[in-house]
Symmetry: C2
Subunit: 245 residues, 2 copies
């Protein structure tokens, strides 16, 4: 496929995603996607004819990877930061995915007002992990907003996810294990039942640093904890399983 010429702004670069020839525009001085986005897009299932939304999409990495990895019908990315949303929209155009992916600038806290109740089969989210905003020096920086709960809390994300999902719709979230109790409690509060969980361990003898969760709106209690995902065989060498994501 012939790619469009696209103008990169200062400090921006175009990175090859190694999937379907897709690329993404990123600014390494602001925020670049991490392995979290890759793992979440590999864990989430979007089936034929299903529509999905990514809450806090940043530069659009999740919808672009989901479009490559799943058979979903349509993907939406919601992002509050104008600069990131603009980069995401340009990446979508660059990959000629305007028919499949829509980037919307807006606030997660109002997501169900923007898109309407019960309007998606799938919600994905890689929300800010940290709830320690008080000590932040520059809470307005894109990196701070992406990593800390400056503009939205875990509860905001889960509440809006429930509202956006159809009955039996699925939420896929990646988060930090140390907040697992709060995540489960808040999901249940909003009738999202955690059904599947995979812990991500950097090495086989280390503590997990990420957790992948699938929750179902109105699902019945019964959690399937899956085999561990070990990221590295040894320093710098990924396990085979990672390449499957």
């Amino acid at each position: 496929m012939q790619k469009l010429n696209i103008k990169l702004l200062e400090d921006e670069r175009l990175d090859d995603l190694q999937r379907n020839g897709y690329h993404i525009i990123q600014n390494p001085n602001k925020f670049c996607f991490g392995i979290d986005a890759v793992l979440l897009s590999g864990y989430a299932k979007v089936k034929e004819n299903e529509v999905a939304i990514d809450l806090g999409t940043g530069t659009g990495i999740i919808p672009i990877l989901l479009e490559a990895k799943t058979c979903g019908k349509h993907f939406t990315g919601l992002e509050i930061q104008p600069e990131s949303a603009n980069m995401a929209a340009r990446s979508v155009r660059y990959n000629q995915l305007e028919d499949k992916i829509n980037i919307v600038e807006g606030d997660i806290k109002n997501a169900s007002e923007i898109f309407g109740l019960s309007s998606f089969d799938v919600v994905t989210t890689n929300p800010p992990y940290m709830n320690d905003c008080h000590g932040l020096k520059n809470p307005e920086l894109p990196k701070a907003i992406a990593r800390h709960e400056v503009l939205c809390t875990l509860e905001d994300v889960i509440r809006e996810s429930t509202r956006l999902l159809k009955s039996n719709g699925r939420l896929y979230m990646i988060h930090r294990p140390h907040r697992l109790v709060e995540i489960f409690e808040t999901m249940r509060k909003y009738k999202l039942e955690p059904k599947r969980m995979k812990l991500v361990y950097p090495f086989v003898n280390k503590e997990p640093n990420m957790v992948l969760i699938e929750a179902i709106r109105g699902g019945r209690p019964m959690l399937k904890v899956e085999s561990p995902l070990i990221v590295y065989k040894e320093k710098g060498i990924y396990t085979d399983e990672i390449y499957g994501f």
Copy 2:
């Protein structure tokens, strides 16, 4: 130490625990302890001068192993089934541990009435895992009572644990991962904050079949998910870590 002569009842046998020369009386036709008890007694911490109680102690395996593995001052085992409680008491006598371990026949549901509020530093429990009692053919059998919530529910165990624990006291529980959401939710309901969790995977590429949890009465939210505990290197061969338990 000279062991006492002890009379074994029909079908009973005396098993060597490979710890301090301790033995345990078991009846293989009724119920024998499993790896769960070994893992729980290795996970639980009982410090000098602390007193601990094991809820649903069966043949007393947990208090006996805890006496061997920790520096705790005193251990109590509560068991509702007279036959199991009797075996446990005889094992305690056989090991000459009457000064350190007390076996009490009684119901978990009344534990805080029997022992009083805030009377222990540590509670351990390896409760029935299954909440599917309706289809049980012989719910009165010792094995059914040990494995299924015939005589007490998860909520009974957690509620009584909170009542028995001093402020900042610790509950150690082993359970099935598929009930993790309910476990966390019920612990929080009774002000027991899950602080530490270790998933037990039979093999590195398999789903976990057990979970070890430490919860603190009145603890602050923040869960430490620990490195995975892998039981087998290959079929029939334990990993080194298991020998540490």
